[in-house]
């Protein structure tokens, strides 16, 4: 974010330091970065060298280790390997040791602070659609949000971080498509303390029920009055063409004229820059 949050500070010493600043910017050193073992192979060749569709095997005897390796593979995998991952997960779902290992790996990733890895783990566990897994996800969603930590732009970072993971977890609960667990999703759609999770609960609940009018009606009483807009919110998914998306958007804007933004506000122009940077070398060939 941000422009000049520090403007209130330091009215003194302006001129003196300005001279320093000027000399600083005049002496723009452009020495090259270096490294010890760089690669000269273009990525297109690196990518072509990676075998697709060969996930590490998961086995109950070595549950933690093999699930750990599987999560690593899955994070690196690409969209066309999703079906391969799903097949492996369907068979792992029959082995409680593996389901348990996924839970432990998720908690370990969460504790280490690696949100990207925890997200991958939560997605995989949700995809497994097991009762125990869903129970774990519910408990995860219900964990109280942190109340202390680092505030970034007015948002408690630890809280936002956990809410993002809980949003992924609630999507997994909704994916089970089980009445008991759907009640939890509906409950969280209105009651979770973070709007990030409430929003995802609403979207996941509706999507898993085909975005039907019935689903919308069933969910509406749970949703906070001021957040009913979320029931109509536009979702864009992979592969959706402009016509389909734009139709949804037009309908949304028509139904909710209140989301129309006001016109932007002008400010005083600043003098034009004197030394524009015109660097236009094209990036290296992929």
């Amino acid at each position: 974010m941000q422009r000049n949050t520090r403007r209130v500070l330091s009215r003194a010493g302006t001129l003196v330091v300005t001279l320093g600043l000027m000399s600083g910017s005049a002496a723009v050193a452009q020495d090259k970065p270096t490294s010890e073992n760089p690669s000269n192979i273009p990525p297109s060749r690196v990518i072509a060298g990676r075998p697709l569709h060969s996930p590490p095997k998961m086995n109950a005897a070595d549950a933690r280790k093999s699930v750990n390796a599987f999560i690593t593979w899955a994070g690196e995998s690409v969209v066309e390997e999703q079906s391969t991952a799903r097949r492996a997960l369907a068979s792992a779902a029959k082995q409680p040791e593996l389901v348990q290992a996924f839970m432990e790996e998720i908690l370990a990733a969460h504790e280490s602070g690696d949100t990207s890895r925890a997200l991958v783990g939560l997605g995989l566990l949700g995809e497994m659609r097991t009762y125990d897994g869903a129970k774990f996800l519910v408990e995860f969603v219900r964990k109280p949000l942190p109340t202390k930590g680092t505030v970034i732009e007015g948002e408690l970072q630890e809280e936002a971080q956990q809410a993002r993971l809980q949003a992924k977890a609630i999507a997994g609960v909704a994916y089970l498509r089980n009445e008991e667990f759907d009640r939890e999703v509906a409950y969280q759609a209105g009651n979770h303390p973070s709007v990030i999770v409430r929003a995802e609960a609403i979207s996941a609940y509706l999507w898993n029920r085909g975005d039907s009018l019935e689903a919308r009606k069933a969910l509406e009483p749970f949703v906070r009055k001021e957040e009913r807009l979320y029931l109509d919110r536009v979702r864009r998914v992979t592969g959706e063409g402009a016509d389909a998306f734009n139709r949804k958007l037009t309908a949304y804007l028509k139904a909710h004229p209140e989301v129309q933004a006001p016109d932007p506000v002008r400010k005083d122009p600043r003098p034009p820059e004197e030394k524009p940077n015109t660097f236009d070398e094209t990036p290296p060939k992929f």
């Binding site: 974010m1 680092t150 932007p264 400010k267």
Partner: protein, 287 residues
């Protein structure tokens, strides 16, 4: 010199003071899985980082103990910085019928050169932990606007320390530069409106200027007609970019990168817009 310019000067002066006094660096112990997964698609590609530092106007002094001379150590800041640039330079599919915007839009927003998108800028780094990034406009006409990214985009235990979120911040800060080029005022709370207000739950809020797909030709994201009907805010550009990473990136982009981008996009869309939420992106199917 008008008052605003004077104020801008003080701000950049203070920032300069901080930058020189800061011997500290961000946490350099590790990289997130998403950073590593993307990294493995190039294995530290020298041709690219030798291009990137010029394209982003990086200055060696700013990055000296942050991987300038260890450009292949993904635990350090410069490698993480160029890893994010690699994502936005090569990773987008640019499907006219599906993407919000194209690579040329995202590159022009992030990169240093002066264009329709913004005046010249350069990327630096700050040890602040209370922001993801900052934009400081030039004071002297011969000076250059500055984008700084901050530790939360590099510390491996913060959720935004991944290539999509980092590049998303290049969009956000680059769009503050856009506001300065076209003389728009986005508010006095760090370049945003005060919050919470409306559907925005944090202290710096934007409006979302909804637009459909195929509404802006690729390369035309900068266009505006001075009204809400053709306009973008910084958080909006960021969300649209993150959505395009999540849903419209090339087939070889790792799923960890896509999923973290979707997560960041959706969290922002729900919490940073007065007239929100913005769109939700990514499939609600868990995997």
């Amino acid at each position: 010199m008008n008052l605003k310019q004077g104020i801008a000067l003080m701000s950049s002066v203070l920032a300069f003071g901080l930058a020189t006094e800061a011997g500290a660096v961000c946490t350099q112990t590790a990289a997130s899985q998403a950073d590593r997964d993307l990294w493995n698609t190039h294995g530290c590609w020298q041709d690219f980082f030798l291009w990137q530092y010029k394209a982003y106007g990086l200055r060696s002094g700013d990055w000296s103990n942050r991987g300038w001379n260890a450009a292949c150590n993904v635990n350090l800041e410069f490698p993480k910085h160029w890893n994010a640039s690699y994502l936005l330079t090569y990773g987008m599919e640019d499907d006219w019928n599906q993407s919000f915007h194209g690579t040329e839009d995202y590159r022009a927003t992030a990169e240093a050169r002066s264009s329709n998108f913004h005046d010249s800028l350069y990327h630096s780094i700050t040890d602040r932990t209370d922001v993801f990034g900052t934009f400081t406009p030039r004071f002297w006409p011969w000076d250059t606007d500055r984008v700084e990214t901050a530790c939360p985009l590099y510390n491996p235990n913060v959720s935004n320390s991944n290539p999509g979120s980092r590049a998303g911040d290049y969009m956000h800060e680059g769009w503050h530069a856009y506001f300065d080029k076209y003389n728009f005022d986005n508010g006095n709370t760090g370049g945003h409106r005060p919050g919470p207000q409306g559907a925005c739950t944090i202290n710096g809020c934007d409006y979302f200027y909804f637009h459909g797909i195929s509404k802006y030709p690729f390369g035309a994201m900068w266009e505006n007609n001075g009204t809400a009907s053709k306009f973008h805010s910084p958080n909006q550009v960021q969300v649209e970019f993150l959505c395009d990473v999540a849903d419209q990136s090339h087939w070889w982009i790792p799923l960890s990168v896509r999923q973290t981008a979707a997560s960041d996009a959706n969290a922002r869309a729900a919490s940073r817009f007065i007239n929100g939420p913005g769109y939700t992106c990514g499939s609600p199917r868990p995997w």
